[in-house]
Structure formats: structure tokens, C-alpha cells
């Protein structure tokens, strides 16, 4: 018995890299404190969605629901067509993400591996569009989309977003790191440029693709102003974030806090879940995009 006890003791000691000092205790408590402050609004949101309307209205506020209930969620499902909203959001996000990946890979490859006139000025020009707040182009872009007959449809939301300057920037950074020999070898083997790009280069920059996927997906899932402007009340095409804003018109008063919080919880889930699954790639890409070049 003592032998096994000793062995597990030693294993515990070996595993712990952290020494307990006042300094580290302070740091740990600081970390916990910051985590709580950061997570607090989201925790409040989830807790409120489980409360009864009376509980959400009490002054001073009640924190924990006495008997958590999913009533608010069922109500939201009855008020907002969750199914079609989620599908619309998914369509917008997936199509945009795939298109952005493809166009960025192609353009990034050209900027990284080809020599041609105006390469640098063109790159600078495209990059400059990253700094343009969408509101600046909102009005004429809306008119243009209207001329194309795409208003009030998902196509109108997606089509202007099929390419993205940040994506090009990211791909160029990563593709630069792909060894030229690899590409040359493929060309000598007789591959067309498209095959080189999608069969050789793309697999080598998988982290960048994963990162761009996450970034583009979350951005378009959360996008509000442009879909709102283009869809003009066509509730069939509403993505979830806009459908939820309809909850604001649901009756009037503080007693609907639970309903609104339930809706917010539902909207938050997909991007956060996706993030938790892919976070390593996203963080890595943020790291390399921010610091290199």
C-alpha cells in the first residue's frame, strides 16, 4: 500500500510545474477574477434565460433562478422561426466562407508566388480596402444591388462578400512560406496552375485556411447592418441575428427580459461552439497576421 502511495505522490510532484508562493497565488486569483469579469455577461445572459418573468423584474436583481425553466426558449421558438433563421445564417456564412477561401487562395498565391507588373501597388490598393468602414459604401452599394435585382434575397447579402482583402493578405503571408521547390516539382510533373494551387499549396497552408474559415464564418454569422439593409423586411430570408432583433418588438416591458436573453443565448451558441473547436488555428492565424510583415 505504501509503495503505490509513494508512486502517486511522486507523480503528483513531478506533474506540478507551479510553485505556490504569494506571488503565484496572487496571479492565479487575478486570472480567476478576470475570467469571471469577462464571462459574467454571458453567464448572466444564460441564467436570465432560465428565470421566470417575475424573477427578471425584481429589484434588487435576483441572480440564480429558483427553478430553472426552458419556457423562454420555447417561447422564442414560437415567436421567431428559429429553424429557417439558422438555415439562412448558415447559408450566408458557408457560401461566403467557401468563396472567400477560394478567391483568397487564388489571389494570395498570385501575390506570393508570381512576378508581374503592378504587383505591389495592386496589393497595396486591395489592402487599403480593408480600412474602409462598410458604412462609407453602404448607400451606393445598396443602389447597385438593387439595380442587379438582388434586394430582399440572400443572394444580395452574399454576392458583395465573395472576396475579402484580409483573406488575401492572410493567404499571401502563409503561401510565401511554401517552398518554391515544391511548386516547381509539381509544375514539372505537368500540373496545371489550378492543380498546383489546390492540391499542393492549399494543403500546406491548412492552418491559414482553418483560420480564415473561422474568421469569415463568424464574421458573416454575426453580420447585422448589411443584411438588415438588403433584406428589407423579408423575414423569410432573415438570418438569426436579425430575427432576434424582432424579439425587441415582442410586447413591451421588463418582463420579457428572459425571452430576449434566451434569444441572445441561441444566437451566441454556433459561433462560440465553432470557436472552441477551432480556436487553436484562429489564435495562430491572428498571431501570424498581426506580427509578421
Amino acid at each position: 500500500m505504501s509503495a503505490t502511495a509513494n508512486r502517486s505522490d511522486r507523480r503528483l510532484l513531478e506533474r506540478s510545474r507551479y510553485r505556490l508562493t504569494p506571488g503565484t497565488a496572487l496571479l492565479t486569483s487575478l486570472i480567476i477574477l478576470v475570467a469571471i469579469v469577462a464571462a459574467f455577461p454571458l453567464l448572466w445572459m444564460v441564467l436570465s434565460s432560465l428565470k421566470t418573468p417575475q424573477e427578471t423584474m425584481t429589484v434588487p436583481p435576483v441572480w440564480l433562478p429558483a427553478t430553472p425553466s426552458l419556457d423562454a426558449f420555447f417561447k422564442v421558438a414560437g415567436v421567431v422561426s428559429l429553424g429557417s433563421s439558422f438555415i439562412n445564417s448558415a447559408i450566408i456564412a458557408v457560401v461566403a466562407t467557401v468563396a472567400i477561401n477560394v478567391t483568397s487562395l487564388m489571389a494570395g498565391y498570385a501575390f506570393a508566388k508570381y512576378e508581374f507588373r503592378f504587383r505591389e501597388p495592386l496589393f497595396a490598393l486591395l489592402l487599403a480596402t480593408m480600412f474602409l468602414p462598410p458604412i462609407v459604401t453602404l448607400i451606393p452599394l445598396y443602389r447597385m444591388v438593387s439595380y442587379m435585382g438582388l434586394t430582399a434575397s440572400l443572394a444580395g447579402v452574399i454576392v458583395p462578400n465573395l472576396a475579402n482583402a484580409f483573406g488575401i493578405f492572410l493567404m499571401r503571408q502563409f503561401i510565401k512560406g511554401v517552398p518554391d521547390e515544391l511548386i516547381e516539382a509539381a509544375r514539372i510533373d505537368g500540373c496545371s496552375e489550378m492543380r498546383v494551387l489546390f492540391q499542393i499549396v492549399a494543403p500546406s497552408v491548412l492552418p491559414a485556411i482553418a483560420a480564415l474559415t473561422l474568421f469569415a464564418f463568424v464574421y458573416h454569422w454575426n453580420s447585422y447592418l448589411w443584411p438588415l439593409t438588403v433584406l428589407q423586411g423579408n423575414t423569410d430570408a432573415y438570418p438569426i441575428v436579425i430575427s432576434l432583433s424582432r424579439l425587441l418588438s415582442y410586447n413591451r416591458g421588463a418582463m420579457n427580459t428572459g425571452l430576449v436573453m434566451a434569444g441572445a443565448t441561441l444566437a451566441v451558441l454556433p459561433p462560440v461552439i465553432l470557436f472552441v473547436l477551432l480556436q487553436r488555428f484562429f489564435v495562430d492565424s491572428v498571431v501570424s497576421s498581426g506580427v509578421k510583415g
Binding site: 429589484v59 434586394t151 423575414t235 415582442y250 416591458g253 418582463m255
Partner: protein, 431 residues
């Protein structure tokens, strides 16, 4: 007997022929509204009933939050794929007509409408004598007060004059309990303007006369001063009056939780009060707007909503839309000789403006003491001005009044700024 059968057969054949020709053209009609999901469900039910007898018309409802309604209307305007029908607030009509975005009501329907609705509402839905929409909702403002708080403060009757209003507000204000005597509203244009205007017209004044702002009148001076007094003496706490994108928020919550003694608000917030207060709603009563020193009798401000048809929609869609609206607002679509529209409005605690609806719902209206206070004020209500540039005029005046509420401007400065802004905006819009 034999003759009857022949007639029946002929009628049947005619019916089949008629319906099959109707089936040839199908029209897709969309209805843009700001109503809450519960109410939208009722509208959709009415649309379904209509489609059963008119299989060639398909009606879809597009709902947006109130804060987005005008923007949605504006961004879809000028396009054939904008909503065919839209529920609009009467103040938006002049600019929409100027930009040729709404179609005039077809003549036959116009004549019918004019005979079934009161003149004031018809006026608000017409520009230059031409009718552009079918009125539905009429809203009016009255003094709402909490009888229990009144009793606690030893007040027996609601204030009839401004002096009484100030005296009562003083008695009802109790800082230790976080209680304010009179509630003001901010962050929402109508909430800021309409109570102010109600007080102004109850003081014998006006906002706009013949297209020119009259905010520099003596009656207006007294109204601005009233606000300044309410805030300076602490009877009104502007921080308790905030509103959010959907006209809910602290101003409502404070009245519901009995922290506000009196407030001037419109009839449609009845459903919000009921669901927020539960049984305590019985403590709420309504009264006419107190009369100011320069006024002769209690007046109020009213405004209306109407449904309009998109002038850029294809002709067959427009016709289908007018037919639907004719039915929806007509006496055969709802229970007991009321219209389906009237029924929908009453479910929200909103007053329908059609004369026959008023009669059909007379019992319900008379037995609801809360609404009774409003229907009585309606007789002496002036419509909120419907002018070109109305929205911009409202927003500018809203800002000035909010600055007055929060003590950033004196009454005198607020008045001169309001008048000069209004003059500039209305002249520019009329060009």
C-alpha cells in the same frame, strides 16, 4: 323547382368560369408592418381567410422592429420588390408622396373610405385633396396616473390645470423612495414630442400653423417654462424616462413599479401596463390633459396610422393589394360588423378609427375605464402636424426638448433654438 335547378346550374358554371379566369393571374402581395409577433399572427390569419375566397392572391407579412420600419420603407422604396402594402405613421406620408412612392387610393375606394372615416383622419391620409392611404389606427394622449400613489399623497382628483399639476407633482415626489411626481420621456421621438405637444395645445398653442412653426408664441413659452420647472424642482427625473428602440424601457418600468405618479402617454401602451402590473393595473386611471394658463379647455394630440400601397409595384399587384385592404378594413371581415383590422387593433388595446368599428366595439371601449379616458379626449384632439420634412422636424425638436429635460438648455434658449431649427427645416423641405 325545375327553374331553380337551371338557375343553380348556370350560376355554378358562371362561378367556375369566373374563378378560373381569376386563377389565370396570381398576385404576390407583401405587407410590411412593425407589429409584434402575436399581432402578426392575427394578420396572417386574416390573410389566410382572404386567400381562401381569393385564391389568386398570396399575402405574406414582413415584420420589422418599429425602429427599423421607416428605414426599411425608405430603402425598399424606388424598387418594384419593395413591400406592396405598408403600415405607415401619418407624419411620413408627405415625403413619401413627394418622392412618388405611394399610390393614390383608387377612386371608388376613395369615395367609400371618405364616407366611413372621420374627416380629421381622412385629412391626415390625404395630400392636396387626394387620398393616399386607408387609415386604421388612431392614437391619442391622456394623463395617466396612479390612484394609489395619489391617495397616499392625499390627492383626491387628477389635476385639471397646470398649477394643480405642479402642486400634485410636488406632493408625489419623494426622493427617498426614488419616486418622481411627473414622468418625462426621452430617447424616443414620439415620447418626447407628443406629451409636450399635448400640453402645448391644451395651453391654446400650436406646433405648426399653415406650414410655419409657431414655437415662438406665448403659449409655447409657458410650455417650455413648465418643463423647466418640472425638472429644476425635481418633480421629473430625466434619468427615469429613458426609452429604447422599441418604446419600452425605464420610463415604462418606473410607471409599472409605481415610482412615477403621473405621465402623459398614448392609449396603446395599455397592453404593456396590463402585463407588467398584473392586478395592480386597477390602480391606473386616465384623465384629460391639464389646461394651461393660456388655454380654454383640455385638448390633446392625436396621430394616426394608415396602410399605403407601393406605387412602384406591378399594376396587378397593386390592384390585388387594394382589394385586400378593402376587405381587411371593411365591415364584413371581422366579428359583429367590425373589420378584421379593427379586431387586430383592439387586441393590442389600440383604437380603430373607422366609424363603424367604433360602433361595433362600443361596448368593449365603454367598459374599459382605461380606454374610456382616451375616447373622451379624442373629441378634442388635434392631429400632430403632417408636413414635408416632418421626420427631420420631429427629430430636431426632440433633441432640443431632451436638452431642456437634462438641463443643458434654459427654457428661453430651447424655445429660440426650436423655432429657428423648425423654420429652417420646414422651409428647406418645402423646396
Amino acid at each position: 323547382m325545375h327553374l331553380l335547378r337551371t338557375f343553380a346550374r348556370a350560376a355554378g358554371t358562371l362561378a367556375v368560369l369566373a374563378s378560373s379566369t381569376a386563377l389565370v393571374q396570381a398576385a404576390d402581395v407583401s405587407f410590411l408592418t412593425h407589429w409584434a409577433p402575436d399581432t402578426v399572427a392575427k394578420l396572417e390569419a386574416a390573410a389566410k381567410t382572404y386567400s381562401e375566397s381569393h385564391p389568386d392572391t398570396k399575402i405574406t407579412v414582413r415584420a420589422v422592429p418599429f425602429g427599423d420600419l421607416l428605414t426599411t420603407l425608405r430603402s425598399s422604396g424606388g424598387g418594384a420588390d419593395g413591400a406592396t402594402i405598408a403600415g405607415i405613421y401619418d407624419a411620413w406620408l408627405p415625403d413619401l408622396v413627394k418622392d412618388k412612392l405611394v399610390a393614390p387610393v383608387p377612386d371608388a375606394m376613395a369615395a367609400d373610405t371618405k364616407s366611413n372615416w372621420p374627416a380629421g383622419v381622412i385629412g391626415a391620409a390625404s395630400i392636396g385633396g387626394t387620398l393616399y392611404g386607408i387609415p386604421n389606427e388612431i392614437d391619442v394622449y391622456a394623463l395617466n396616473y396612479n390612484k394609489k400613489l395619489f391617495a397616499d399623497a392625499g390627492i383626491t382628483a387628477p389635476p385639471k390645470t397646470w398649477d394643480e399639476l405642479l402642486a400634485d407633482a410636488e406632493k408625489l415626489t419623494d426622493k427617498s423612495k426614488g419616486q418622481q411626481g411627473f414622468g418625462l420621456i426621452n430617447s424616443w421621438a414620439a415620447g418626447v414630442l407628443h406629451p409636450f405637444s399635448s400640453l402645448l395645445v391644451s395651453n391654446g398653442g400650436d406646433l405648426v400653423v399653415d406650414g410655419k412653426p409657431t414655437l415662438d408664441s406665448k403659449a409655447a413659452t409657458e410650455t417650455f417654462n413648465l418643463y423647466e420647472t418640472l425638472v429644476k424642482k425635481g418633480y421629473s427625473d430625466p434619468a427615469m424616462g429613458t426609452s429604447d428602440a422599441n418604446t419600452t424601457g425605464p420610463f415604462l418600468d418606473n410607471f409599472v413599479s409605481e415610482k412615477t405618479g403621473m405621465i402623459i402617454m398614448a392609449n396603446w401602451w395599455e397592453s404593456a401596463l396590463k402585463s407588467g402590473m398584473g392586478d395592480k393595473f386597477a390602480d391606473i386611471a386616465t384623465a384629460p390633459i391639464p389646461v394651461g394658463p393660456s388655454g380654454d379647455k383640455a385638448r390633446s394630440i392625436s396621430y394616426s396610422w394608415m396602410t399605403v400601397v407601393n406605387a412602384k409595384a406591378p399594376a396587378d399587384e397593386q390592384k390585388a393589394a387594394w382589394d385586400f385592404l378593402n376587405w381587411l378594413n371593411g365591415p364584413s371581415s371581422g366579428p359583429n360588423g367590425a373589420s378584421a383590422m379593427g379586431d387586430i387593433l383592439m387586441s393590442m388595446g389600440i383604437l380603430p378609427s373607422r366609424t363603424s368599428d367604433g360602433a361595433a366595439f362600443a361596448d368593449r371601449l365603454n367598459s374599459d375605464p382605461f380606454l374610456k379616458g382616451y375616447t373622451e379626449t379624442l373629441a378634442n384632439a388635434k392631429g400632430f402636424p403632417v408636413v414635408l420634412g416632418g421626420q427631420e422636424f420631429s427629430e430636431a425638436l426632440q433633441k432640443t426638448l431632451e436638452a431642456l429635460q437634462f438641463g443643458q438648455l434654459s427654457a428661453a434658449d430651447a424655445q429660440s433654438q426650436a423655432q429657428s431649427d423648425a423654420t429652417e427645416i420646414l422651409t428647406r423641405a418645402a423646396q
